[in-house]
């Protein structure tokens, strides 16, 4: 059975038709697929079929461990978003971007394709000053209406500065990781293992935290 019904398919096609440049998705799964991996596999397959501007490469966490290392993928299912020239956008989704997260996923595709609103110059200036590696993990649940806001903000930083890597992490699929970071409310944004923010915060709050590192 397809994941997207007729109505959603039509809406998704319309949204994806606004993509400007090509975008490539690299999907990581594993040999013996977990249920979420199977669903995520179907999700990426169906989605890639909805636009000529989207291409998909499916890799295996174990067999393609060099690629996994290159893209800093340490768990599955994972989706890495690449720009049209094949460079890494810094944007990743761990777990299926279902529920409300479909919105952050589409935002990422449009943004990486080049359809994105410019940021205020003052914010842009602060982002360009980031000169050391920053790893942002945004923990979400698919039923959380506020979470895509936090994910889109983190992904935007990744897109604007190549020192930043930003992950959406679907908490229900990665329970040990959620426990490790003591996630008990979402969205929760963890920055470089050390700093965290609770709730959907504006981009300036994220920058404040990054500047403290």
């Amino acid at each position: 059975m397809p994941l997207f019904d007729e109505k959603i398919t039509k809406q998704l096609k319309e949204i994806l038709s606004q993509m400007q440049k090509d975008v490539k998705l690299v999907f990581f799964t594993q040999e013996i697929e977990c249920q979420t991996c199977r669903d995520a596999h179907q999700f990426t397959n169906e989605l890639a079929g909805l636009s000529d501007k989207l291409s998909l490469e499916t890799l295996n966490l174990v067999i393609d461990k060099d690629q996994a290392a290159k893209y800093a993928v340490d768990k599955v299912p994972a989706i890495v978003v690449l720009k049209d020239d094949g460079t890494d956008s810094g944007i990743r989704f761990f777990g299926i971007p279902g529920g409300y997260e479909i919105n952050s996923f589409l935002s990422a595709l449009l943004a990486v394709s080049g359809r994105v609103e410019p940021l205020p110059p003052a914010v842009q200036a602060r982002i360009s000053k980031i000169d050391k590696p920053v790893h942002i993990q945004v923990f979400v649940t698919p039923t959380c209406p506020y979470c895509p806001g936090a994910v889109v903000t983190a992904h935007r930083l990744a897109l604007e500065n190549s020192h930043v890597r930003a992950d959406m992490v679907e908490s229900n699929s990665f329970v040990p990781l959620s426990i490790k970071y003591q996630v008990s409310g979402v969205p929760k944004t963890v920055i470089n293992e050390t700093n965290d923010l609770v709730g959907a915060q504006p981009i300036t709050a994220l920058l404040d935290e990054i500047e403290k590192l």
Partner: protein, 326 residues
């Protein structure tokens, strides 16, 4: 698998113009929930120059999974209805800005509205449609432990409380809903209600009664939330005897109702004891040229269909006001 797609987010906003400080608008609408969006459709159809500034598009509708009492739709997902409203506003040229909040309102022959980022907008009339947001308990420990066991969104955070012990505060529909969701997965749920009875719908009360891991404490209230980095215990008081007890808990879900977003209008327009803006049946406040509509007002019953009706009324009253000024 479900997808809560907000298709409207991705529609090119060709008709949304930037809000400008140099323009004197006929109408400035504060808030983009059902009341504000309906008001916009009415003022724009009257040909009035309109600006709308809002924290988010859709207001409380974006937090609502399913709506079954907005006529024309037997059932519609909250986000879908937001998209439909937004599309209808978008057919007109409207000065529009979201992710922006109004900080101050100064009345005068020309009303001045200061935004969070310091910009000042000017308008002949203002429609306040800033709605409501979840209320806090305002007890020690709440702020410090927010997101660390103190939760305000049961649909978001319930999954983290599987096999845990939780407290739900509030015996209205949202408290009952949260308690039901949590009872399915938590070891134990204590529902704490200030009043002497539950105030939510009977259907939900019956549903909750079917779980044997739920205890209901009526006429009790939380006084303090304790824990080292995470909620561990909650101090609960019996309102009749004043007796306090400390309950162990991994989480506390706060569902104690809503607070009007009226701070920026304090001292400007009259409000009742709950900080709802007083309006007459024309949506007039006591300040000429300032109108209010929807959940932020004293109008009884907070519902989408009512907020829409009030928004329409406020817009028509504003249009008449401008007409009479000429």
């Amino acid at each position: 698998m479900e997808f809560n797609l907000s298709a409207g987010l991705f529609v090119a906003e060709q008709n949304f113009l930037p809000v400008e400080s140099q323009t004197l608008y006929d109408v400035l609408i504060i808030g983009g929930g059902p009341a504000g969006m309906t008001a916009a459709v009415y003022t724009l159809r009257k040909g009035l120059s309109t600006a709308l500034v809002t924290g988010n598009v859709g207001g409380q509708m974006t937090e609502t999974a399913g709506i079954e009492n907005y006529l024309g739709y037997r059932y519609i997902n909250g986000n879908e209805l937001v998209d439909k409203f937004r599309e209808q506003v978008m057919q007109f040229g409207i000065a529009f800005e979201s992710s922006q909040k109004v900080q101050r309102l100064e009345p005068g022959p020309v009303h001045q509205v200061t935004l969070e980022d310091g910009r000042v907008l000017r308008a002949k009339t203002v429609i306040i449609a800033s709605g409501k947001q979840s209320k806090r308990l305002n007890i020690p420990g709440e702020k410090e432990l927010a997101g660390h066991g103190v939760a305000y969104c049961a649909i978001c955070d319930a999954p983290f409380y599987a096999d845990k012990t939780v407290i739900v505060v509030g015996g209205g529909n949202s408290g009952l809903g949260a308690a039901i969701d949590l009872a399915k997965i938590a070891t134990h749920v204590t529902l704490v209600q200030r009043r002497d009875r539950l105030t939510g719908d009977q259907i939900l009360i019956d549903k909750l009664a079917a779980y044997d891991n739920v205890r209901i404490l009526l006429e009790h209230e939380p006084r303090e939330i304790r824990g080292d980095g995470h909620v561990e215990r909650v101090l609960i008081a019996d309102k009749k005897t004043g007796e306090e007890q400390e309950l162990p808990a991994d989480g506390i879900f706060v569902e104690v109702g809503l607070l009007p977003n009226s701070q920026f209008a304090r001292g400007v327009v009259e409000m009742n004891e709950y900080n709802e803006i007083w309006v007459d049946c024309f949506c007039r406040t006591r300040v000429p040229g300032i109108f209010a509509a929807g959940d932020v007002t004293t109008v009884p019953y907070k519902q989408i269909i009512i907020a829409c009706g009030e928004g329409a009324k406020a817009a028509l009253t504003a249009a008449d006001y401008i007409q009479n000024q000429k």
